[in-house]
């Protein structure tokens, strides 16, 4: 008797398991609704009907009274472009460097020089960090910074090109080593109006996921100095070049615009990433003397879009969906910067 009972129990268990497995696979296929339902008693059907009616009533209420029922649709730049601050971006405390009598005017954050002089953006240069023998940082599961940065850059290029407004170029299209000075000269030769370098961070001491964005400027932070040393390795610049480059530091327009650009990128990256990963940290915008940022003469930022030392993030980065999302956030950041003052832009899925 006991044997028959346990046998029946086992068969029932198997059926449940097979059914669970089937439903799980349907979900992956996006056919979640095709599950096989048992006929439910009338009471449950009645409850379900009432629930549906209640939901419909709430939705209609939202339509007629202009209620934002799906706040996540107000994604990225559209939120950020508004005057209500969603988050505080940690900016360096120092004022912008300026040598002229117009210091007060130039440092007025309400005034954008590019907008004042009607300067537009036609060509965007995307710089996927590292490449070739220089793999950049490597995650614990073997994911290399150079591969992920290239993939995100390609996706970003595709998205920006699709808008039909910009000529988009990349400093490397494949897994090849490109010295930093070559990246700068390519940007100058292409007469690019905007430069964004895509990198991934690595924090050996802390298993957290962070996002930070840099623009050119001096730093007193030891950790940032170390990162700069790593990223500047292989620049192939000589000392004679460096003197000329340092003279460019006083380029106020570039500094001001780069800072605005970095703010837009950081906000969009962080706010949107936080929707998927509640534990992501905002390390804000920072100044750092990356030579690739100094060399280019247009607004330029270096975005550390993710963190390979965080195992969960490394896993996520192995999915195309996550990399596409990062490209989407970067696109939203660029659009946010370019549509300064406009409230209409929304990142496209």
């Amino acid at each position: 008797m006991m044997t028959i009972f346990s046998k029946n129990n086992e068969i029932k268990q198997k059926k449940e398991i097979l059914r669970g497995l089937y439903e799980e696979n349907l979900k992956i296929l996006g056919k979640g609704g095709a599950r096989i339902y048992k006929q439910r008693p009338f009471f449950f059907r009645k409850m379900f009907l009432s629930f549906c009616l209640a939901i419909a009533a709430v939705l209609l209420h939202g339509i007629f009274f202009n209620t934002a029922f799906f706040p996540e649709k107000e994604l990225t730049a559209s939120i950020i472009s508004q005057n209500v601050p969603l988050m505080s971006v940690k900016a360096p405390a120092e004022d912008l460097l300026a040598t002229s009598d117009y210091k007060a005017f130039i440092n007025n954050q309400g005034v954008s020089l590019s907008r004042m002089f009607g300067l537009g953006v036609k060509t965007i240069m995307i710089d996927p960090g590292h490449g070739g023998a220089d793999s950049g940082t490597i995650g614990k599961m073997g994911t290399m910074e150079k591969d992920v940065a290239l993939d995100i850059a390609r996706r970003l290029k595709e998205r920006l090109t699709k808008t039909g407004h910009y000529h988009v170029l990349m400093t490397r299209e494949g897994d090849v080593a490109v010295p930093l000075n070559k990246r700068v000269s390519m940007t100058q030769a292409a007469r690019a109006d905007l430069f964004i370098s895509v990198h991934l961070n690595y924090l050996p001491a802390k298993p957290i996921n962070i996002i930070e964005t840099y623009y050119f400027g001096p730093t007193s932070d030891v950790k940032t100095e170390k990162l700069v040393e790593q990223e500047n390795a292989g620049s192939e610049y000589g000392l004679s070049d460096f003197r000329e480059m340092i003279e460019k530091i006083g380029d106020t327009l570039k500094l001001q615009e780069s800072r605005e650009f970095a703010t837009a990128i950081q906000k969009n990256l962080f706010v949107n990433s936080r929707m998927h990963d509640g534990a992501v940290y905002d390390f804000g915008i920072k100044r750092a003397p990356f030579v690739v940022l100094l060399g280019v003469e247009v607004p330029a930022v270096l975005a550390e879009v993710s963190c390979l030392s965080n195992r969960q993030e490394e896993k996520e980065l192995s999915t195309e969906g996550h990399r596409e999302n990062i490209a989407r956030y970067l696109e939203a950041g660029i659009m946010d910067y370019l549509n300064k003052g406009d409230l209409t832009h929304e990142a496209k899925r």
Partner: protein, 342 residues
Amino acid sequence: MKQKDEQKQGNLFVGIDLGTSRSSISAGNNTREWIESYVGWPKDFIAQQVVGKPVLFGSEALLNRLSLDLCRPLERGIIKAGIEKSDEAVKEIIKYLIGLAKPASDQKICAVVGVPADTLKVNKLAIRSAVSENVNALMVVSEPFAVAYGMNLLNNALVIDIGAGTTDFCIMHGTIPAEEDQKTILTAGDYIDEQLFSYLTEKYPSSKFNKNMVRQFKEQFSFVRDVPEDMQVVIPVNGKPVMHDIKNEIRRACESILPALVETTTEMIARFDPEFQVRIKNNIVLAGGGSLIRGIAEYLQDALKEYGTCKVTAVSDPLFAGSDGALMLAQDMPEKYWEQLN
């Protein structure tokens, strides 16, 4: 019975274990085959002339690795979708394995594919799209779950699948395991290889090893604690073959995975109600290539003794335990379910 009817209707059921190191297939027509999970494409036109094929698999790919772009698609347990040719390599492996099962030209393939637990969590869609091209209907499951089903360990059991890239833990409690019932750690076979490589390089600095040789040593001798035999191998030193004693290094490397193994096992068991903990502790099964390490089941059993009595066993055929379990799932799956999964 149902399965036999469906075979008559022209379906071939297959179970595939897509592993980091080895992949196997068990088919309803009694075919059982395995390959090493390596795929290689000739680097250029000359390489293609030398190897004579557009794509090579398993040991043949390893033998010709200098002429090939070699890919081990599930290295570290996940597919890097869209980079490093991982998804393309998975497609090739599945196509090749199904070819080995020799289906009739008019047979429809219904496949259950077991993948490392992390792959399932992270790359659900990527794995489906990589595999679905070569089959008519497909289900993807985690490897330890396929092993558990094949061994009828549906309730109160812990399956530990020690693979190459990952060690997967899966607790069975009468339902399909949820994400919190499964855990993956990276201390597995590849980690042992890395440790062994560094120990041997340290002990014999002038000897020439490569990672493939080290893996072969591990597979030939692996053990924990002690075994009576000597372990000596011939390795070239300045071109001359020289005998090396590697017993101590093998033991140290194999034992390097034990702390994480014991810690994760106790952590997984501790998640459950004390009443169930006792039952699970008496039903721990080791699977995967790592279960072939001599003495590992006994070690784990002794290490867990301080938490009460427990019983640890190893599957009898780790190479096919996953694919056999996946085949059993495929055969037990009702026909109406398969129809939706085309």
